[in-house]
Amino acid sequence: MERGEKGTTQNMRSISYSRVADVATAIATVTADPDAAYLAGGTTKVDMLRIYAEPSQRLVDINDLPINHIELQPDGAVRLGALARMNDVAMSPIVAQRYPLLAEALVLGASAQLRNMASMGGNMLQRTRCSYFRDHEAACNKRVPGSGCSALTGVNRGHAVLGTSEHCIAAHPSDAAVALSALDAVIHVQNRDGHHAYAIDDFFLAPEDTPEREHPLQHGDLITAIEIPPLPMARDSLYLKVRDRESYEFALVSVALALRVEGGAVAEVRMALGGVATKPWRARRAEHALLGRPATHEHFLHAAREETADAVPRSMNGFKIELARRTMVRALETVTARGGTP
């Protein structure tokens, strides 16, 4: 159809859709076309397309790929297929018994409807909720590199205080990734050239001066699985999420914690923070401060302070630093009080 004096017609942006049934075809299809993208649960992708935050795309639906299983490996690790749904993982006895912190993080995320749709692989790639990222009228280095960061001086109550840069202070939105960070999960990725495995800490990138880069994936790379190494002490673990609203809201602060106390001292600890950082934040400073020390309020508080020592508050989010400390202490005291018996 053509109209207009010059005979030119502006076509609506085209979004095409195709469905593939095996991993190799999926990777080949997307790799061959720079405008192509994988479509899994669609709970972020479709939103982003609807608000014109992403360009025209050729969507390749991968929901038929056989990568949705939750499997206990011979070595005791648990492998989550990238297309396993959030709810399936949360309800899986394999996960719930071994990694309660992950099951809790999943159940406390999003809403039941979203959890039924959203995939674990997609969860790792979900985009920040920074309102300026989704707002075309605002400057955002993540959306348009070099355009600036409206959040630095804007409404930033929900923004990050850890891992920030002068280019971006957007908080990472995932709960599940925080628990997986505490669990030292491994992200398995496949592409045309083969298979890669990323330690979760290397998978999520702090913004620094390239906030548009959130992970090391190249075009065509497909997350196939998330592997969680065995961690016996995680059987007594928790995910504590603090937010204004009781449900269906992102964390102001969250703490994923696995802790083993022996003879009154911290024998093993894994801790990660959500809601306060630009990536799922492994609390290594706090872990270091806790290890071998008495499991007491004073030491917990000290460790929490260590972790937030370099936090950078902005105009509205300074309270998150104190809230993060208190939430860490609460989590540590809660698990300690259980006395190691789940």
């Binding site: 017609t9 502006q10 409404v155 609203r245 104190e322 208190r326």
Partner: protein, 742 residues
């Protein structure tokens, strides 16, 4: 007489709503329908230098791109008059796209019309608009220095300053005073259904399907804005998915839809997006209040001084009347209330559920709690000591008031007297518990015009009763069916209430908690007129067993007229009409409202809240809300209690969640349901609602005082007072969030 009134009847429109059969204003299927999308200004102040529409105009499916350069001229903007007056009711005295000047962010600057919604949305992204930005003010903080005292506010209906007695003398003689500053975030309404209008012209006649609280308000406003005769406009509103005030006044989108429809010669649907709802249909303004109370040693108020400061638009002196109820509730001889305004680059604020009552009473009811603490009085006792037996202004009697009974019953339900009143004394593990209470009151506003309804009874005894009112989700269609059944004396199942159409007998907009009272009055007058007409016909009919009887001795039940003392003597309406070869009988009823009674007529309530506070993490969770209300007569206990419960949960939301934040760029920064928090089911506490029925012979024939808003009024204060009881902290801002409690 049957007694349908009061029964907890299920909603008559319920099945259509839950099955999806109900057609809302953006659902109406019309042949040839096309879609309009509005585009809002990116900047809050300045002017448009240029709009490049070429790419949009050439996009697939696009029929028109309207801007200030080519928008067809209409009529003129009527004055801002609340829609309860029954006339034109523009939300602001500004109509966009008349010139290049920008007054607020989101101001509509273009309308794109295309064959499909997606094509229109896409074309809207292709517009290239260059602006010259100008300095702006959008917040109290930015505009404090240029504040002025308003001469009148609220569409000119209320004075900017009210005084009685001598407030300085009252404060001088006080044994105790409190002087407190309050801050409130702006709020937006966020009904489920975004505002939408579908407009279709047939020659010079216009039909509009509009999501509105008043089909007639839309009609009269469009008549003026478009310069079309009211007789040539029909407004239909079958279903409304909530409003809470954002559809109480008529904004520019219905007129833009009509202008676009005329321009392209096709029916046009214009539905606002969720984001556009934050800058197209008004809001509750950000505000500050300063409240000074003086009391004698017994806790009796000697003075109340209440000042408010808030931003309004560049067009209108609007402030929600935050000082109104708070000035009328307690017996206090010395009072001063002053509204100060700031000219700001926002649209004109508007009614938002409990417009003013919620914010003003939050200040008064938390300040009273502090005063009680200073005097060592129980919070309930200080309210009883200041109980106004007559209206504080001129001492006239209340039209009805059973507030004392509400206090008593609410305290009983809460176990108020058994609680440990010491701060921080109640615990549940590490959680601090607290109880708080507050008074609620909401004026009984009266419509400005006569309210009409028509009743028609068919020869088989079934009836249709009509009035133009829309049911905005409150259950009014169900309640009016009950009123009509009782008025006629027929079974509920035989009555259909027809509504939501400006062609039906005139009513004002369903606003200000006044809808049930005013429309029930018209329906009652119409149906009892028809009943009396049929009784008179029977008495005059030699063929009737009631021939020659005393009309005062005739009663009607289940469609049968009979003598009160001899129920066996009588006949049905159907028999009467069939004998006379009449297919139906009809009567129109007109109810002329009394002069405004809102000063001496109110819905009252006592509210109690129990909160649980996690003191380390700053988390407040409401465990119980108890509300006991005197709302006059209850038409439907189920829908009325749902209204009150919804109001209470909204009050909780006002207290703890809702706030629209203005960004430094002069735009609302959290214009989405992801970031503007409203409560979810997990937040909803146990809610206990009771009503104490009072007989009110002043407000309207059935004594209905209204339940739409009063449930919200005292909730936030009761919660804040409970937080103090739990933690010892006095919080003077809304919403109260985690950072306030760390």
């Amino acid at each position: 007489m049957t007694t349908a009134i009061g029964r907890p009847i299920d909603r008559v429109d319920g099945p259509a709503k839950v099955t999806g059969a109900g057609r809302y204003s953006a659902d109406v299927p019309l042949p040839g329908l096309v879609h309009a999308v509005v585009v809002g200004s990116r900047i809050p102040a300045g002017r448009i230098i240029s709009i490049d529409t070429r790419a949009a105009e050439q996009a697939n499916g696009v029929l028109a791109v309207l801007t200030h350069l080519n928008l067809p001229k209409g009529g003129s903007v009527p004055p801002l008059v609340p829609s309860l007056a029954g006339a034109a009711a523009t939300g602001q005295t500004f109509f966009p796209m008349q010139d290049e000047v920008i007054h607020y962010a989101g101001q509509h600057v273009a309308v794109v019309v295309a064959e499909t919604l997606e094509q229109a949305e896409h074309a809207a992204t292709l517009l290239r608009i260059d602006y010259a930005a100008a300095p702006f003010v959008t917040t109290v903080e930015q505009g404090r220095e240029q504040a002025y005292e308003a001469r009148r506010i609220f569409g000119g209906f209320l004075p900017g300053r009210v005084e009685r007695g001598d407030v300085d003398a009252g404060l001088a003689e006080a044994a105790v005073t409190v002087d407190l500053g309050y801050r409130y975030a702006a709020n937006h309404h966020n009904p489920i259904e975004c505002s939408a209008t579908t407009a279709v012209w047939q020659g010079d006649r216009l039909t509009v399907y509009d999501a509105t609280q008043g089909p007639n308000a839309t009609l009269h406003t469009l008549a003026e804005l478009l310069n079309v005769m009211p007789s040539h406009i029909r407004v239909v509103t079958d279903f409304v998915g909530g409003s809470f005030g954002c559809k109480a006044m008529i904004w520019d989108h219905p007129a833009l839809a009509a202008l676009a429809a005329r321009h392209v010669g096709r029916p046009v649907r214009l539905a606002l997006s969720r984001e556009q709802m934050f800058s197209s249909v008004g809001h509750r303004e950000q505000q500050e209040q300063q409240l000074t109370l003086g009391a004698d040693a017994q806790g009796r108020l000697t003075a109340v001084r209440h000042h408010k400061l808030s931003p309004t638009s560049h067009f209108d002196d609007w402030a929600e009347p935050s000082l109104g109820v708070a000035s009328q509730l307690y017996a206090c001889p010395n009072y001063q209330g002053v509204y100060r305004l700031i000219r700001a680059n926002t649209m004109t604020p508007t009614f938002t559920r409990c417009p003013g009552e919620a914010s003003g009473m939050f200040a008064l009811e938390t300040a009273l709690d502090e005063l009680a603490e200073r005097l060592g009085l129980d919070p309930l006792e200080i309210r009883l000591r200041n109980y106004a037996e007559t209206t504080p202004g001129d001492g006239t009697p209340w039209s009805s008031k059973k507030l004392r009974e509400c206090y008593r019953r609410g305290a009983e339900l809460a176990g108020w007297d058994r609680r440990d009143p010491r701060v921080g004394a109640l615990r549940d593990g590490d959680t601090l518990l607290g109880w708080g209470m507050a008074t609620s009151a909401y004026p009984c506003y009266q419509p400005g015009n006569p309210q009409r309804a028509r009743a028609r009874l068919y020869a088989d005894g079934s009836a249709v009763v009509q009035a133009s009112i829309s049911d905005i989700g409150t259950g009014s269609a169900t309640a009016m069916t009950q009123v009509a059944a009782d008025g006629l004396g027929v079974q509920l199942e035989r009555v259909r209430f027809q509504y939501g159409d400006s062609d039906l007998p005139n009513t004002a907009a369903a606003v200000g908690s006044a809808g049930a009272g005013m429309v029930s009055a018209a329906v009652h007058v119409a149906t009892t007129a028809l009943r009396d007409q049929l009784i008179a016909q029977a008495l005059a009919d030699p063929g009737s067993p009631l021939h020659g009887a005393d009309p005062r001795q005739v009663t009607v039940a289940e469609g049968r007229m009979a003598l009160r003392e001899r129920p066996d003597v009588g006949e049905t309406y159907a028999a009467l009409l069939q004998r006379a070869f009449m297919a139906d009988a009809e009567a129109v009823g007109t109810w002329n409202p009394p002069p405004d009674t809102s000063g001496g007529s109110m819905t009252f309530g006592a509210q109690f809240a129990q909160v649980a506070v996690d003191p380390d993490l700053g988390l407040v969770r409401v465990r119980r809300l108890i509300g006991v209300f005197d709302a006059g007569r209850i038409l439907n206990r189920k829908t009325a209690h749902s209204q009150l419960m919804g109001g209470m949960i909204w009050g909780m939301s006002h207290a703890l969640l809702e706030g629209t934040r203005m960004g430094p760029d002069g735009r609302w920064a959290n214009a989405s349901l992801g970031e503007y928090l409203v409560p979810v089911n997990a937040d909803a506490p146990e809610v206990v609602v009771e009503t104490v029925e009072s007989t009110d012979t002043v407000v309207n024939p059935l004594g209905v005082k209204g339940v739409g808003e009063v449930g919200m009024v005292g909730t936030a204060a009761a919660i804040a007072n409970a937080i103090h009881h739990a933690t010892g902290k006095r919080l003077h801002r809304l919403p109260i969030t985690i950072e306030d409690l760390l």
